[in-house]
Structure formats: C-alpha cells, structure tokens
C-alpha cells in the first residue's frame, strides 16, 4: 500500500493563505535591501553604498600610515623646494680661521661647504678643516642648553645672574678669545665695556704668530702680519714656514703657490722653492731644494743668508756663526738675488729677532711692495703671548673679577692653560661661550653656548679692507645663543645682533640693495689700508741677539693638515684623514730621522705599522707616543703634532694621541717657542700600531706610475720625463699599447667626462679627500679598521718619496718587507703627491669581471656602480690596477660599533648626509662616481635653459675644493671646456686622445684607457744635477 500521508511544515501550509503562497514563491523570503523595485524600501544602490563604505572603513582602519618622522611642510617656505638645493654665501669661522664659503642646504639643512668663487682671498678653494666643519654642526656633544655650575638652566636665569655679577664685579673684567677679526664682534665687546667698565680683551692663538707680529710692529709700526703673495714670487725661501699647511689662510697660499707652478705651452717658467726645515712639512715636500736643519740652527742660517745677500747688495754684513754645508743656502741666496723684486723669504719662527732678520732680508730683496703688501694685513692672527702671560699672572694674583672665555679653550690649547684653569677659583665670575663641556668650560660657572657658525650672523675682516659676511643657514638646532647676542644682552642692548651688524655696515653704503647684494655675494671690498711703513732698524744689533745653534736632541712642534690646532678635533672626518706626509690618522706621534732610527735601533720593520713607544721629556714635562722614522726629518730632531690628546672634546677625539701644547716653551722675549732644544727621547721596546693608509715609501722606480722631470729638460722638450711603454706584436714590431685592440670600444655620443690631474700643482693638502667624503656620504671606519687597511676614502693622495741611491743602502735598511732597493726612501727625499681615484677606464677591468653586471659603463664614459645589484664578490676590486674600489666590510650605519661614524649613527648626525647619494649597505662595493649626482644636476640645469652644460654647471666635489686647481674636471666632448683646452683633447666616436705633451695615463701599458690624465711633475732643479729616482 502506497503511503499517501502528507506532513505539513506548519499551520501556514495547511491554511495555505495567498499571503503564504506569495512568500513561498520567493527565493529569499526575508527582507533583502537589493530589490530596488519598491521606492519605499532601500535600493540596491543603498546596498552598494553601504558595502562601499564598509569596505573603505575596514581598509582604512587596517592601514596604518607608516610615516614616522618625515613631516611635510604645512606652509612651504618660499625658498625651499624639496629636492632642490639652496646655496648661501657665508663665512667659515672656526677657531681663529676665517674663510669665505658657500653653504649648500637641502630641505633646510646645511650639507656641504664649498669655497666662495667671488672671494679674492681663497678663490673658491677650501681646506679639509673647512670641508669638515659642516659635520661639527651636527655633533651631539654640543651643549643643548645654557648651564650654571654644570646644571641646565634657561637664558633668562643665566642672563640675570651674569648681569648681576658683572655689575657687582669690583676686579678686572677680562674677555679671552682667539684672534678676533670680526668688526661687529669687537663693537659688541665694546658695548660690554660701556656698560661694565673696561673689558680687557686678551687674544691668543693656539699656534702663536706673536713673533712675526711683534717684528712687524717694531719694523713698521703696525702689529699685523702683512699679506704675502706667493704667486708673484719667482724664488721662495722658507725657513721652517709651512705656508702651504700650517699657516693661516693657507688655502690662498696654496692657490698662489700653485699658480706660480703651472706650466703649459705658453708658460715655461715656474717658481723655485727652497725649504730649510726640521720636520718634513707640506711646504718642504713641495720644495725643489730642501735641507733638513735643526730648529736652533735657523738663526745661523738666517744670518748667513743675510750676509750672502748683503754682500750682493753691498751693505755691511753681520756677525754669524759658520755653517758646515752652505751649498744649498748659497744657491738660494743667488736665486733670491737674481729674482730681486720677485723673491720672498718666510720663516716659521716665533722669535721676534729671527723675524726681524727676515724683514731685513726681504727689504734687501725688494719684496715689500711686490711679494709682501704692507698695506694689507692678515687679521686672523693677532694673538699676544705677553698679554696672555699677564692674564695668567693676574688671575693667579686674584686681580681678576670676571673672565669671559669667548669660544676659546686655553685649558687645552695653551701651554699656560692648565695653570689658568686651575686658578679660576680665584675669579668670582667665570663665563664661557664654548659649544661643549671642554677642558676650559668644564671649569667655569656659567656656560652660554654659542651657535655653530652655520647658525650665526657675523661679519669678518680677515684681510684688511676685505669684509665677509656670515649668515645662518639653519635655525639653531639646540637651545644655544650666539655669543655676540649674549654680549649685547648683558650690555643691556635690545637690538638683535643681526640689526647690530647691519647698523655697523650702514657706513659703507646707504643704497638699499647694498646689504642684499653683499649678503648674496658674501664678500665686500673696501680700500682700507694699513698705515704701515718700514722704518730702518739696527740689523747688526738684532743679529747679535739671534740664538746660537745648540747641540742635542730638539723638539719641533707642528700642526698637521687634518686636525690642525685641535679646535675641531671631535670631527671624525678630520681624525680619519691621513696626514699628507706620514699617511697616519687617528694619532699623533714622534717623527725622527730614519738615519737616527737605524743607528739607534728605533725602527721596527717597514710596512707593518709597528712603532716603538718613546717618552719625550722637555723641562721636566714628558709625553709618551710612538716613534715613526720619517724621511726628511732633520737628524737630531723630533717632530710632534699639536691638536691631539683632547680629554673633553667628545667621544671621537678624547684619548686620541697626546697633548703637545704643554711642550711649548717660552722664549726670553715672552713669545712662545714651538721648538725646544735639549730634549730627551727615551725609546722603549714596547711596540704599538699607528694607523696608516699607505705604508710603502717610494714608487719603486715604476715610471708608468709617476713621470717627472726637471724644468730645464721640460723647456727643451715638453715631453721630458714621459715614459712610453711599448708592447710587441707577433711580427716583432713594438707599438704603443693603444695601437692594438680586438674590440671597437664604447661609443660616446654626447658627453665624455674626464679629469686632468696636474702633479705639478697638487700640493698634497688632501682637502679633496674630505670634500669627497662630505659629498658622497663616505663612512668613517675608525682606527682599528684603518689598521686593517679598510679606510673608505674614494680619493686618496698617494705620497711617494724618491728612493735612496743603491750604493748608500745598507743591510740595516733591508728587511723581508723590502724586495727591491728602489723601495728604500732617501733620508731627505723628493716627494711626489699623486691624487688617485677611480680612473673611469674606458676598458675597465672591473666591468668585465662582475658576475651580476653591477658595475657597467655609461654612455658618457663613466664607470658606474649599481649598489643595489652588487653581491660583493670583490672581484672588481681585485682586478682594479689602481686599487680604488672600497668595500663595505661591515654595516657602517646604525651600528654601535661604528659610533665614531657620527654622520650615520645618530639622528642628528644623519642630517649631514647628502640625500642625492645612497648610504651603502654592508657587503657592497663602492668607489668614485665622478660625482654623478652633480653631473646629473648640472645637466638638468642646462637642459632647462636649452643649452649644453659647460664647466660652470658641472664639477666634482674634489675639483671644486682643490685649492691649487690641480684637478680639472669637464666634458671632453666640449671643445670649449677647460679640460679639452688644457689637454688639447681630440675626440672620435669611441676614443679620446690628449695631445698635451705632459699628459699621461697611469699604467698606460695595461690599455685600460682611463678618463683621467696626469700631467708630469716638473721640479725646478738644475738640469745637470743628479736627481735620485
């Protein structure tokens, strides 16, 4: 039986109402908002709206904006465009040095300092200290607030207390500073005097020029150092004066000197430089004739030179001791006399009598009015050693009620500083404007930290009649205040320092545009002249006061070209910059004569950076440092650099090297003496390492590396000194390496960038190294990594000594590190500096060996490095004949182990990084790019104007900084560029050829065909003389 029962789902089905039937037919019986057929109900559109909102809301809630610190401008400043740099003319003012500069800012932060082309007294060049100064702005060791007795405070409190104390001061008020050449600062200090009674302004210099200043005061009536013009000099004699390195304004002197050394088809004459000195200085290493002498012998040499000149001039001679070897001195005297009117004698002595003799000789030579301009003085050295000595005595005697240390640090950089600082307890009010808790400011009561110069308004008159302005390029980073602003506040003056300067300048011109124009140019020249006139003095009497030569070991202190006087010692770029001569960094050390080191067993072994430790004792004070045998060092002398051994400068500088300032002696006439006789050097058997970037002494006779000649030979044959390597063909014919090729070469359609390096102009100063480091975000790796030979500099200066004559080489010179006798440096060598960077080879050996094509050739002749693609096999570096590639052995950024690399390891320091250049990752290779970012920027600038870029648009950082114009960069496809003209470039589609006779490629025989040409080094030596090769 079939089941016919029916089960109802519910009563509704049973009832089966029409309403039920209608609902049952619907697929979705419940309400859906998508029907859309009824206007009363929500439509499909509403559904979509709701869903759209829902999705958007959910996804918005899920997204977290990852922006952390990059905050866009709410109101964009008119003159700041992201990605576009702004340039401001300003003045570099650190320590006692002043130079006119142009500051590059990006998005409101200064990232690079370059020379101001409009400035007559540096002509666009810079020094390593100027280049590095931008990093000091971002130094976290700077004080962030004013301090009272070591505790942070606010400006109102500290001003109130200082004002009260100054007003109540019964004793003398003294303001101590380095030499000040800022007219407005002087006026601000004068305002203080107006308010509180006389403020005695004591100026000093870490490296005193008191002797030369006093001598000119006696001879011409004005205590000022007149301007020297080395470019006019045909014969220059330097008696221990390091005008290319240790002297103030050496950027200008490098320019002038290099100008006198330039040679070309139209100029076949050059200056001749004689150097008589103890340490091998930058000046001495550029000398054509150099004689190592002991510091105490300088007086005798000067008086002998006077006598030699006096005989020629027909004036009475003076008493002088006899010299053993006068051949070079006689030659110098002859040349000086021959170049009368274009001759120049300078001395580095701080002894007033020596300097008076120099004035006398220069007068006989007719230098005044020609090579020495008495009407213009150099105002960056005004320090008075006697005034400082008096200050110390006064403080000790309790006669001083208030001392203001204006941006100076005598506690570190003056021989009597420690004495002064320890007696500061006797002074009621002590104030410092130092930017950090340094050796002096940590002993004072009030610290009112000054701005960095890049945050300041100021004006300077570094050369009389020659004014430069300084303008802030960034708002003050910390709660600091410009020192002059502080002085004005304490003097009760309401106007800002900016208005104060402007008011002072109103006397120059009433023209409204004058100020803006001057601010834009950064420089202004007036015809102010120094009223100096030479008056005769008793030469014989002066000569009789010259000190006789003494026997025994002598100490000669010097400043090197990186850390200098130590003011910027906490700058890691400077600390890691190798000294141009010793190639050492992160240290100071004793330099001794190699002969003495051999004789006394002070030498360890060549090339391993191992040096014995010695203790030097002078007048009961002693310092301990490693001993480096330094070719060129006078026998019986010890050199030691100032500027090291800081204890309270910051984590970079503290404990690096030893402080040599306490070794300074006082001479009888009150000026400080940087040389001392009768010192003792105890060399121990302890061996330490000194980090050096180059340990080889000579170029081992490889004349495809260094090509040099003497002037006479050059005049006869412009190709003199050139070396032409030849290769043999299968046929037996010998041809130039470039004559043979299996490959047609790269094609260059539009630009072909190249560089010329004039070995004759390069003085070896090394500012290019730091300019490059700043521009290209090159990390600092620290002493240990330099010892591991892993410094990162993209451009280095190779320093080669000439080798000793083979017959003079003894067994004691040789060790297992020396293979050929040509590797042994002469005891008094000739020096050649060779800037070395990526040669941008047209047939680059690095390009072919990279497995991932991370280094490739550009259509403009650049050898490009693609960091992102690099996997770090280092094959390219191995195959580079010039060894210019640098590898990121570690992660140098954001890594505590490299915290001395301050530009990459804290947020403040990172502000100095150039945003156009990648910070390289660990494990990738890097090298000189010819500043491709600058080329690109220059090309874009020209493109906007619809023209071809020219020399003015594009320059590399190194070439721009070079104070001697030894580096010339440009487009070799442009016949009007400087490089094309200087090298007489002939280009074809695939090649360039320099027709200049002196131009050569380093390692031409390899046929890598670099885009960098070197010009032969020409020494102004007599042709017939034997030169050691």
């Amino acid at each position: 039986m079939k089941e016919t029962k029916t089960y109802w789902k519910g009563l509704e089905q049973l009832e089966n109402t029409p309403d039920f039937q209608q609902r049952a037919s619907k697929e979705f019986p419940e309400y859906l908002p998508i029907s859309g057929d009824d206007n009363q109900e929500p439509s499909r559109r509403d559904f979509l709206k709701m869903m759209g909102f829902g999705v958007a809301a959910v996804s918005l809630a899920a997204c977290e904006a990852p922006v952390r610190k990059a905050i866009p401008y709410v109101n964009k400043p008119v003159d700041v465009d992201p990605g576009i740099p702004n340039y401001y003319a300003s003045s570099y003012a650190v320590g006692n040095d002043v130079e006119s500069v142009v500051v590059k800012t990006r998005e409101g932060r200064p990232i690079k300092v370059e020379g101001n082309d409009l400035a007559k007294y540096n002509m666009g060049g810079t020094s390593s200290q100027i280049e590095s100064s931008v990093l000091s702005l971002y130094d976290t060791e700077r004080l962030q607030n004013p301090k009272i007795s070591g505790e942070d405070t606010d400006w109102a409190t500290i001003d109130g207390r200082i004002k009260t104390e100054l007003a109540a001061n019964a004793g003398k008020t003294v303001l101590v500073s380095y030499s000040n050449c800022s007219p407005s600062t002087s006026r601000a200090i004068a305002e203080l005097s107006k308010k509180y009674g006389e403020v005695v302004h004591v100026q000093y210099d870490p490296v005193s020029f008191s002797g030369i200043l006093d001598a000119y005061e006696m001879a011409s009536g004005v205590r000022a150092m007149p301007m020297h013009d080395f470019s006019k000099a045909k014969t220059i004699v330097s008696m221990g004066a390091d005008f290319l390195g240790g002297w103030p304004n050496h950027v200008l002197f490098n320019k002038q000197f290099a100008k006198s050394r330039k040679l070309g088809p139209d100029k076949k004459e050059m200056s001749r430089l004689y150097a008589f000195e103890s340490n091998l200085s930058l000046t001495g290493s550029n000398a054509d004739y150099r004689q190592p002498i002991k510091p105490s012998e300088q007086g005798t040499y000067i008086s002998s030179l006077y006598n030699l000149i006096a005989k020629k001039a027909g004036v009475p001679t003076v008493a002088s001791s006899k010299l053993q070897d006068t051949s070079i001195l006689q030659k110098a005297a002859n040349d000086l006399w021959k170049a009368k009117g274009n001759a120049l004698l300078v001395s580095g002595s701080n002894d007033v009598n020596v300097q008076l003799m120099v004035i006398a000789i220069n007068e006989l030579l007719g230098s005044f009015g020609n090579t020495i301009d008495l009407s213009k003085s150099l105002n960056t050295r005004k320090g008075d050693d006697k005034a400082f000595a008096k200050l110390v005595a006064d403080v000790k005697a309790g006669g001083v009620g208030a001392v203001i240390f204006y941006n100076c640090n005598p506690g570190y950089d003056h021989v009597k500083g420690a004495e002064l600082v320890s007696s500061l307890g006797k002074v009621k009010t002590t104030i410092s404007t130092s930017d950090r808790m340094d050796e002096t400011s940590s002993a004072v009561k009030y610290i009112t930290p000054d701005h960095h110069y890049l945050e300041s308004w100021n004006d300077f008159e570094s050369v009389s009649g020659y004014l430069t302005l300084s303008q802030p390029t960034i708002n003050n980073i910390f709660n600091t205040r410009q020192a002059q602003e502080s002085f004005l506040t304490w003097a009760g003056i309401e106007t800002s320092y900016f208005d104060f300067i402007k008011a002072g300048w109103s006397s120059f011109s009433s023209d409204l545009s004058f100020w803006d124009k001057t601010l834009q140019d950064g420089v202004y020249e007036t015809d102010a002249a120094v009223p100096a006139a030479l008056a005769g003095f008793d030469v014989a009497a002066v000569a009789s006061k010259l000190k006789p030569a003494s026997s025994g070991m002598e100490l000669a202190l010097y400043t090197n070209y990186s850390v200098g006087d130590g003011v910027q010692a906490n700058n890691p770029w400077l600390q890691e910059m190798p000294d141009p001569i010793t190639k050492a960094c992160w240290d100071n050390y004793f330099t001794v004569s190699p002969r003495e080191a051999r004789e006394k067993g002070w030498k360890v072994k060549d090339g391993d950076m191992d040096y014995k430790v010695a203790t030097l004792t002078v007048n009961g004070k002693s310092v301990t440092a490693p001993v480096i045998p330094q070719p060129g060092q006078a026998y019986g002398t010890v050199g030691l650099a100032l500027g090291y051994g800081r204890t309270k400068a910051g984590k970079v500088a503290d404990g690096v090297g030893v402080n040599a300032y306490p070794m300074i002696a006082s001479s009888a006439n009150g000026s400080l003496a940087y040389t001392t006789a009768g010192v003792s050097l105890e060399v121990s058997e302890e061996v330490v390492k000194v980090a050096q970037t180059q340990t080889s002494q000579t170029y081992a006779g490889r004349n495809t590396v260094i090509q040099e000649t003497v002037l006479g030979a050059y005049q006869k044959d412009p190709q003199a000194g050139r070396h032409f390597p030849k290769i043999s063909l299968a046929s037996g014919d010998k041809v130039k390496p470039y004559a043979v090729s299996l490959w047609k070469g790269h094609e260059y359609a539009n630009h072909h960038w190249g560089m010329m390096v004039d070995l004759n102009s390069c003085t070896g100063c090394g500012s290019c190294t730091i300019a490059c480091q700043t521009e290209n975000n090159i990390p600092v790796v620290g002493k240990q990594e330099v010892l591991n030979r892993r410094e990162m500099h993209w451009i280095r200066i190779d320093r080669y000594y000439s080798s000793r004559e083979e017959s003079a080489i003894t067994e004691s010179d040789l060790d297992s590190n020396i293979v050929s006798k040509a590797e042994v440096a002469a005891d008094n060598p000739e020096v050649t500096f060779q800037p070395m960077m990526c040669q941008q080879c047209n047939n680059a050996p690095c390009e072919t060996v990279c497995p991932v094509a991370a280094t490739t050739h550009s259509s403009e002749g650049l050898n490009q490095m693609t960091y992102n693609r690099c996997i770090g096999t280092r094959y390219c570096a191995n195959n580079c004949p010039y060894k210019v590639r640098r590898f990121n052995w570690f992660k140098y950024h954001d890594n505590k182990q490299f915290d001395k690399n301050m530009a990459m390891n804290n947020d403040l320091g990172k502000m100095v990084l150039n945003p156009d250049v990648t910070v390289r990752a660990r494990g990738v290779m890097e090298k000189c790019t010819f500043c491709v970012q600058r080329i690109q920027a220059g090309k874009l600038e020209a493109k906007k104007d619809g023209r071809r870029p020219d020399d003015g648009d594009v320059s590399t950082a190194c070439a721009k900084s070079c104070p001697s114009d030894a580096l010339v960069f440009g487009d070799m496809k442009d016949p009007n560029s400087n490089i094309s003209k200087a090298l007489k470039i002939k280009t074809s589609k695939t090649s360039v050829e320099a027709q200049e006779d002196r131009a050569y490629h380093v390692l031409e025989e390899l046929r890598v065909m670099p885009n960098i040409w070197y010009l032969t080094k020409v020494r102004n030596k007599d042709e017939n003389e034997k030169t050691e090769a």
Partner: protein
Amino acid sequence: MSDITIPLEAEQDIAHEQGHAEAAVREPLITGGKTVHDVSEDIAGRVEQKPTITWMLAMAISLGLLVAGGYAVAMLLWEGIGMWGLNKTVGWAWDITNFVWWVGIGHAGTLISAVLLLFRQRWRMSINRASEAMTIFAVICAAMFPVLHMGRPWLGFYWALPLPNTFGSLWVNFNSPLLWDVFAISTYFSVSLVFWYIGLIPDFATIRDRAKNKISKLIYGTLSFGWTGGAKTWMHYETVSLVLAGLATPLVLSVHTIVSFDFATSVIPGWHTTIFPPYFVAGAIFSGFAMVLTLLIVTRKVYKLEDYITLQHLEMMNIVIIVTGSIVGIAYITEFFIAWYSGVEAEQYAFINRATGPYWWAYWSMMTCNVISPQLFWFKKIRTNIAATFIISIIVNIGMWFERFVIIVTSLHRDFLPSSWAMFYPTWVDMGVYIFTFGLFFTLFFLFAKFFPVINMAEVKSIIKATGEKKK
C-alpha cells in the same frame, strides 16, 4: 664492458670459472683470495653492523669541527666579511684559496672513475667509490666559499644564476669568469653526483637483498630504485656508466681550467698568465690523488680492506702524484722564466716578491711540499711504504693549499701601485670557516663510510676471478 657481470653471487662464480685468463706477470688487484661472497661480507657487512666506537669517535670529532666552524660561519654571516682579514688591497685570500683547494681535491674522483674507466684501468675499481664520494663532498665544501665570500650572500646565491626575473632587463654578465665558475662547478657537481649514484645502485640492491630488518630494506630498497639485476638492467647500467664517463671526462679538464680563468683573465701580475689552465688541472689531479691517498690509507686500515685497496693501488696513485707534481714544478719554473722573458716590470716584481718578499715562507713551503716532496716517490721503497705515502700525501695537500694562497695573496698584496701595497693576516674567522668545511667534509665522509658501500662491490666482484688466488 664484458668484465662487469651478472649480479647473483653463484652466477658470478660460474661465469668466472669459464672466462678470463689471467695475465701471468700481473700482480692480482685483489688479494686474500676473496670469493664473491667474501666481497659482499666485507663491504656490505660494514653497512649492516652496528657503528663501532672508532666510527662514533671520528664522527663526534667531525661534528665538533662542524659546530665550532659553524660558529665562525655564523659570525661571518651576521657581522660581515670584515670578520675576515681581507682589506682594500687583498680582496680574496683564504676564501678563494680554500675554494680552489677543495675543487682541486674534488678532481681525483672523476679522473679515477671516468678517465680510468675509459682507459680500462681496472685497478681503479676498488678505489673509485670512495674517491667519487670524496669528490662530491669536496665540491660541496668548495661551493660553500663562493657563497660565503659574497658581501651579500642572501642575494648573491641566486642573483649569480641566469634566472628570469622581475628586475627588468637585469641579467648576469656572461663575460665574468665568476659566472663561468657557477656553470662549471654546478655541472661538475651534478654529473659527478649522478655518476656516483648510478654506480651505487647495484650495491644498494645487494644490501637490500641481504637486509634483515624492514627499515633498511625500505631505505636501501628505495635507494636501489627497484634494481632487478637482469641482463637488460646490467646492459642499461653499463651504457649509462659509459655515457656518463664520456660526459665527465671533459669536465676533469674544464672545471679547473675555468677556475683558473678567474685569475688568468684578470690584469693582475701573477694572475694574468696563459699557463694557468694546464697548470691548474695538473695541480688539481695532484692534490686530488693526495687526498684520496690520505683517506684510503685510513679507511683500509680501519675497515681492514687491505685486500681490496692493496699496496699496488697506493703505488699506482703515487706514480700519478710524481707525474702531476713534476708538471706543477715545471709550471712554477716556467712562470718565473716567462716573467723574466716578458720584460714586464710588474710581472717580474710579482714573482721576485713571491720568492723573496714578505710571503717568502709561503712560497718556499709550496715549493718544498709540491715539488720536492713527491720526488721521493722515485724510490720504490718510499712509494710502497704506507707510512711515507700517508705523510707525503698530507704534505702535498698542505703544499697545494699554499700554492693557491701564494697565487692569490702574493699577487694581490703588491700589484701595480706601491701606495696600495698591504699585507694580509688571517683572523680566527678565516680559520674557523676553513675548519667548518673540514667538519662538513669529514661528517659527510664518515656518514658515507658507515651507510654506503665504500667499495664498488659489483665491479670488484668482476675482477676477483682474474686476480684472486682461491679461485684458481
């Protein structure tokens, strides 16, 4: 290949009864009068036994080296290449030295198994298995270095391969010898591995057949790929062996030739030398045989395989060492002659510097170890003395390590510009990474020696009749 025959022991014995006349003057290759069953017992028995104390001790030491060295590898990967002693001037030192050294060691295996197979040198049969294994493990160790020496190995290990990618038009640089290395090493490794494994299949089948527990039956059954031992299978097996031998033979020459191109195609004096390809190949065989000797002398002693790896084998290998050692010696002298004859200043300096510069000790170690020490094998007494052979084999390997060190470091440390001349000093990480590869090598080798048949049973069985005493 009639001398490789039927799998089953009984059949083999019968076959041997019928065939193969024995050469009257020739020493038997396998001594001790082994029967086919003895061979299986001696070789497969090792696999079946429990590990011995000696083995466990050796394994523990190897693992210890692996872990200790692994720490150095970890430090290297964590901190960067700066952990090594390299610098701006010397960009390669122990890394590439070790690489070339291990690749060189990896040469003997292929030479023994492929070239000697083609030349029908039957003495190779009892040593080819172990030497091939050594080749593979050495190549694995060698391959560690190209990856570890990279600044960014996490990218480099695949960026150096010509893989299609989404980076745009990025492609590898076929001009670079390093890329050639990638191909050369990977080809060599894969061919050697396949060759080795094909040879293992019949022996795995033997072990499978003898297996007494399920696990080994499963494992060796899987490894033997279902080997049946039929005549057709043997025919295929022998054809494949021949084809692979044919393929592998050019590799013996090509691998080290290409490795030598890393140096020969560069511009660095001391590297830029056309003599490198033959000189490197000879050196590789030289060092490979030395390493095989070192390992086999130990293995035969520990596993009591003196009847299989006889004095005659050792002597044969010693003769190869004299020949290749002399080739290498001539190459060293030729380099000096060419440096003088070329008139190239930098080249002359590079060689004088090698011999008399600060690395003179490395150069003279190389000369003593590689040129002088193998000449002792001219004396039969020495070349048939196991202790002397063992010592000289180690000396040769030390010498060959120094050869690569001398080529790489002494050429780089003083090249064209004296300003960049520098020294290289190794750090503990340099040493640690080298130790790591030793740990890896021996760990793999001891695993092999325990779980794989160390001697090719199937092949050896084919020669015992011809050379065995008992069967006469």
